[in-house]
Each structure stands twice: as C-alpha cells, then as structure tokens.
C-alpha cells in the first residue's frame, strides 16, 4: 500500500437522474499500467474524467497520495499538472505549433523557463518520432501524428500518472501502431498509466491490471492473464468473445 498513488472509493456519478458510475473502487500503484475495458456507454470515460476532475463526482472519494482531491481546499491545478491526460480526439491547441503545444503547459503551469521547456518538449517529441514536425500547426498533421503530439504534450509535464481515453479510436488502422508503439515505450520507462482502450491485444500485452466495466460498475478485475485467459464472469466472457472473434 505504500506505493499507492491514486485510490478511488465508493465513487458515484450521475448526470441528472442518469446514474453512470456506481460504487467504483480502484487503486493505482506506482509504475502500474491499469487498463479499463468494457462496452460502449459503460462509464469508462466518465471514470477517467472524474479522476482528473473534468467531471465532478456525485459521491465517494478520490485520494491522491492519501489526500482527498474532492476537499474544498485542494489545489486542483497542481494536481492536474501531475495527472496528465491524452484524449481520444487529441484536443491539440490549434493556435500553437507542435513545439509550442508541448511547451505551453510547462511554462505557464510548472513555471519552467522557455529553454528548459523547449529542451523537455524536444526530448519527448523525439521519443514519439515527431521531431521533424516541430514547426507544423495541428491542422497540417494526420491523426496519428496529432495523437503522438498529444502524448508528447502530456509527458512533457513530467506527470506521475498519465490517463489515456481511447487514444487510438479516432485513428485509421495504419496509424494505430505508431501510437501504440509510443505508449509501449512509455510503459517501459515505468510511468504509471491508466488506459481506456478497445485494443485488446495491446491491453493484454502491456497491462499489469485489467478492469472490466459494465453498466457503471466494475464487473471483474484482475491481472491481464486472469481477465483475458480465465475470465470468471459470464458478462466478461461474452464481451471478450466478441472482440476475439474479430
């Protein structure tokens, strides 16, 4: 328990009358890759968005290093700088070029000098193979390139945890591998990652812990081995069967 970074306990989230998350409990430990799978509408995105407070949970508790992030006095901006997010639709800043996209958070939030920010940004862009495009604007790039920049932007903030919400779902199949390779490389550096994905083979390969969500609850969880080869619950089995048949 000492190396636990994030803990979610009895989390509930409703949009009006519609309860989307019910009694979610989840621990994320340092260096762990946690993958959340489940069918569409099961609440995976909502859970991730609650974790970095893009959504306000209705009930329950989320702690970061034991500190309740829902407490009124909690410093949300510093917390968010430590918990990065990569979006399904990239969400790059259209007014900034590639390099500036990776620098702006560092200089405004972390108060890094422009030189230090640039150095960090270039190092991360190098890792995702985007160095040649530093001068390009987001509108001039392909989806796969945009997502690799989305990753470089998040990693440039030196986060403790990185959240991925279906990072490859909006990509053409031939671009998916580039992005997955970048993520795999990140996982090997020991970065803590929480990943929502429909790429089952990748999830199986990379995950330390897999969470299966169904209709707003965690239906089953375990190691990648346990979930993918010996799923216990019928719901998990039907869900995985559909993916394996493809």
């Amino acid at each position: 328990m000492t190396d636990e970074i994030l803990a979610v306990t009895h989390l509930e989230k409703s949009f009006g009358d519609h309860q989307v998350l019910k009694d979610i409990n989840l621990q994320i430990r340092r260096g762990e890759v946690v993958t959340i799978i489940g069918s569409s509408g099961s609440g995976k995105s909502t859970l991730l968005r609650c974790i970095n407070l893009l959504e306000q949970p209705t009930q329950g508790e989320i702690t970061f290093h034991g500190e309740n992030i829902l407490a009124p006095k909690f410093d949300i901006t510093t917390y968010r700088a430590k918990v990065g997010m990569v979006f399904q639709s990239f969400n790059l800043f259209n007014n900034l070029n590639v390099l500036q996209n990776c620098m702006v958070g560092q200089t405004t939030v972390l108060n890094r000098t422009p030189e230090a920010a640039r150095e960090m940004a270039l190092a991360q862009l190098e890792k995702v193979g985007m160095t040649p495009y530093v001068n390009a604007k987001p509108s001039q790039l392909s989806g796969g390139q945009k997502q690799r920049i989305g990753i470089a932007r998040a990693v440039s903030m030196s986060p403790e945890v990185l959240l991925f919400d279906e990072p490859t779902s909006a990509l053409d199949p031939e671009m998916v591998d580039d992005v997955l390779d970048s993520m795999r490389a990140l996982a090997h550096t020991g970065l803590t990652m929480v990943l929502v994905t429909h790429e089952m083979a990748f999830a199986r390969d990379i995950s330390d812990h897999v969470v299966f969500m169904d209709q707003g609850v965690i239906a089953e969880e375990g190691s990648a081995e346990e979930i993918f080869t010996r799923p216990q619950k019928p719901r998990t089995q039907t869900f995985l069967k559909r993916y394996l048949q493809r």
Partner: protein, 528 residues
C-alpha cells in the same frame, strides 16, 4: 425617416432630462466673458463657412475655418453691445436647440424664426431680419415662369425639416409633398438632380443660389398670390435660453440697427458669399481650394474610426470574456455572474438597438443638459463610436470564444492551466483570429458611419463635404471627391487587415526538421 430620427433624439433628451434636476440650464455659459453663438455655417447668405478671415469672418470654435454672413455680422454687433468676445460654434440645425438648452451655446443666430412651437422650449429676441418665402426651381423647368402658388400644382416640392417652410407647402393645392430634407445643400442637390422640382426657401437664400448657380432661379410672389405667412415665421430672431438676463441688452442692441443698415448688410452678404472657382480642371480646383478642409475631415474620420474600433474591440473582448466565464461555484458567485451578465446584455441591446445618431445626441447634449457635463465634441464622438462598436463586437467575441471546441478547454485544464491562463494562451488568440473579419467589417462601417456625428458638429469628412458643397454649390463634384476618399480609406483598411490576418495565420507550409539541431534555439541563436 428624418422625422423619426428627430423624434428619437428629442425622446432621448427628454429621458435624460427627467433623470436630472430641471432648470439648471440657464446658468450655463452666460456668466463668462464669451458670447457663444450657434449656427450651421452652411446657409448663405445668413451664414457660411470660408477658409480665411476676409469680409469680417470669425474663426469657428475648434476649427481652422471661418464663418461669414449676415448672421455673423449681427452676432458681432450683439457681442459688442454685451461687452463679450464672440465665439462661433458650428452646429447642425437639429443640434441648435439642444445645444442652447444644454448650455453649449448662449444664442442661436442662424436664420431661425421664432415659431410658437420653438417658443415652448426656448426664448427669442426681437426680429433681426424680416424675410419672405420663395420657391427655388431649375431655370429650364416649366415652373421657372410661375407667378402664383397654383402654378405649382403637380410639382414635386420640399422644404427643410423642422421649418415652417415645409409646413407652408400644404398651402399649394395639388403639389406633391416630398419628404422634408435635412439642410439646404441636400435640397440643392435634389433640385439639380431632378428628384424634386423645387424647394421652399427665403428670399436671401434664393438670391444666393441663383447668383452662384446659373441653372437655378427663384420664383417670387406678389401679395396675395404667394404664401400666407405669420410674422413669427418670416421674421428671424435670436434664439435665447428662457430667462436669459441679457435679453433686454440684446434687444436694445438690435434696435440700434436700422432697417437701412440691415438691407445693406444683407446685400453685402449676398455679394460676399463664397463662389465656386471654376477655372480649369474641377478636381484640381476643388482640391486646391478645399484641400485643407478635406484633409482635416479625412483625418478626423480616420481618428474616430480607428480609435473607436480599437477601443471597441477591447471593450468587446472584455465583455465577451466576462460573459463566457463558467457558471460554476458558490450560489453567491453564480448570482453575481448572472447579474453582471444581465447588465452587459442590457448594454449590448441598448447600443445595438438604437441608432448611433441618437446615442450621439443623447450623450453629448443630454449629459450637458442633465448633469452639466461639458464634453469635448471629439471626446464625445470617440466615446460613442467606441461604446457602440464594443456592443457589436462583444457578441462577435463571445461567438468566437464559444466557437473554439470544448476539447481545447479540457486539454488546457487537464494540463493544470487556470481559466485565465486557458483564455490567454489558447482560447483568445483563436477567438481574436476568428473575429478579425468582423472587426474589419466594423472598421469599415465606422469609417462611413462617423458621418452621423455631424449632429454633434464633429467636423469629420462628410461634415466637411457638406460644408464645401454648401459653399461652392458644386454638389456632385464635391460628393464625388468625398466618395473617392471614403473608398480609398475603406479599401486600404480592408487590405491592411487582410494582411494582418495572414500574418496571424503564419506560413502555409512548415519545414521538416531533420534533427534537433535544426530547431532554432534561443540559447544558440544568441551565440551564433
């Protein structure tokens, strides 16, 4: 239209008047050592604008031009009798009464008749000139030979707005009553272009036109053949604030001027009024004679529209930012935000929903009448155009902010940026870029719409143009030159802003960088 506008201005003034304590007007400027006289300086031979001090002309307040004419000579005599220094304030016809009651001027000497309607708001001195109604027509028209009113049956006629000239039109049976016009230059243009067959005028103005423009003539009527008029109409008197303590002294001064002297002064005025110099190329001669006035008019128009657009842009930006602040937080904060939002939407609705000409009159004359604020004319113009532009651009900026996809807000928040940082670094640069075409549009509109500021006598381009046309009677030529200047201004400004848009967009293509060393680095670029 003109009636509506006039009505709106008066309505606005009444509203402002209600807000303030009554009867603080007559104290205004009268105890100073200057005698401020308002006139159009565009109604020869009573008053006109000229470029030098010849024939006893007096410099116009806040301008390099001079006012001359019968009214100016009268004003000099009255000021002399009062022992005060004469200041001529060039004021549009519609603006004269508000300027007087609000204390911007001390007297109206502008060929104005003391009608019963006017007497309700202002007072008048004794008569300083007695006139007679005539009809000005084209020399080549069939009406040139008319001798009695009934000869004008079927003629398209008009008169100046808010004058008894126009009401006298109903005495002509069968005449087609065209809408009233703003001033004499406008009616002369209409007559020359053939949109009307004639306009009602007074004899001295008729003498002037026929003397200056060989295509026009004036029809006079003998005794019962002509208009039935009341002395209060044909007589011209000096407009004064009610209870003006100087009224007796002014009447005494007027009594000193005999009928013979008045006739002499009028004859001299008709002879002295500026004539068009029509030798050589008309463009060259117009520019030579009036280049200075045109340049200063262009300068003022540019200044007002430029400052108005920039300040309006800043106002619009701020209002747009405030109105897009997320509605979360405590109940108290939400309530405050809702109240501020309500205030701002009232501001936007009021300024978008009323004509700028009305706003100008209300702000300039209303503020003086209600609170005794004596604003500088140019400052008032700048404020009005800025606030007006701000109201338009606020909605455009709000739209520009909303148009940036919410994903970019979320990405910025997810990086740990505050709302302010997100706006500054990410959203506003895009919102501003997206709103630039609309800003260009506002700028162009402002360049043209500053012309309505003539109601508060700001000597912008259109005001100067009307003044010039009123002097030289070369309406088409003058307005053609004015149009060309407007076109050059708007065209140039559109191009400049287009160029700025392209600058903001950055290069169309990007260079591929083979390795990190090629990326320009602030540290190395200093030493290299």
């Amino acid at each position: 239209m003109k009636h509506l506008r006039q009505g709106l201005i008066i309505l606005g003034l009444i509203l402002v008047g209600w807000l303030a304590l009554p009867a603080n007007a007559s104290q205004a400027a009268s105890n100073s050592d200057t005698f401020k006289v308002g006139m159009e300086a565009g109604y020869p031979p009573f008053n006109w604008t000229q470029t030098d001090a010849s024939n006893g002309a007096v410099q116009i307040d806040g301008s390099s031009a001079y006012a001359g004419g019968y009214d100016v000579q009268m004003a000099k005599k009255v000021a002399h009798a009062l022992g005060k220094k004469l200041v001529v304030v060039k004021t549009s016809w519609d603006g004269l009464a508000p300027a007087l009651t609000s204390g911007k001027i001390d007297a109206i000497i502008a060929g104005m008749s003391p009608t019963a309607k006017r007497r309700k708001t202002i007072d008048f001195s004794d008569t300083y000139y007695a006139s007679q109604l005539v009809i000005v027509v084209r020399k080549d028209s069939k009406y040139a030979q008319a001798t009695k009113l009934s000869d004008f049956s079927g003629a398209k006629l008009t008169g100046q707005l808010n004058t008894y000239h126009y009401t006298a039109l109903s005495q002509i049976k069968g005449a087609i009553k065209e809408p009233a016009m703003k001033d004499f230059p406008a009616m002369r243009v209409a007559l020359e272009s053939g949109t009307i067959d004639g306009y009602i005028s007074e004899k001295p103005e008729g003498i002037s036109v026929t003397g200056a423009n060989p295509n026009m003539t004036m029809v006079e009527f003998k005794g019962a053949q002509g208009f039935k008029t009341k002395p209060e109409d044909t007589d011209l008197a000096i407009g004064l604030r009610k209870n003006d303590p100087d009224k007796l002294k002014i009447n005494a001064a007027l009594a000193q001027i005999s009928q013979k002297e008045r006739n002499q002064l009028m004859t001299a005025a008709v002879a002295q009024q500026p004539q068009a110099k029509s030798q050589g190329n008309w463009v060259v001669s117009l520019l030579k004679q009036y280049g200075g006035m045109l340049a200063s008019g262009t300068g003022i128009t540019l200044l007002i529209s430029l400052v108005g657009t920039i300040v309006g842009f800043v106002i619009g930006l701020l209002v747009g930012i405030v109105r897009t602040i997320p509605r979360g937080g405590s109940a108290w904060r939400r309530g405050l935000l809702r109240f501020v939002d309500w205030l701002l939407s009232v501001y936007i609705e009021v300024f978008r929903g009323t004509p700028m000409i009305v706003q100008a009159a209300v702000v300039y004359y209303g503020a003086a009448q209600a609170f005794g604020w004596n604003m500088n004319r140019l400052a008032a113009a700048l404020v009005i155009v800025s606030v007006n532009t701000g109201a338009y651009l606020a909605e455009i900026m709000r739209g520009g902010i909303i148009a940036v996809d919410s994903g970019q807000f979320e990405a910025a928040h997810a990086l740990g940026m505050t709302h302010l940082q997100t706006m500054n670094k990410i959203i506003l640069p895009q919102a501003i870029r997206n709103s630039l075409p609309a800003v260009t549009n506002e700028f162009v509109i402002n360049i043209k719409d500053t012309s309505v500021l003539s109601v508060i006598s700001v000597s912008e381009l259109f005001f100067q143009g009307s003044t010039i046309a009123g002097q030289n009677f070369q309406f088409f030529h003058t307005y053609l030159i004015i149009s060309a200047i407007y076109l050059i201004l708007t065209f140039t400004i559109t191009r400049i802003l287009r160029w700025i848009e392209r600058k903001m967009d950055g290069p169309q293509n990007y260079n591929l960088m083979a390795n990190q060393n090629q990326v320009s680095n602030p540290k190395t670029s200093l030493t290299n």
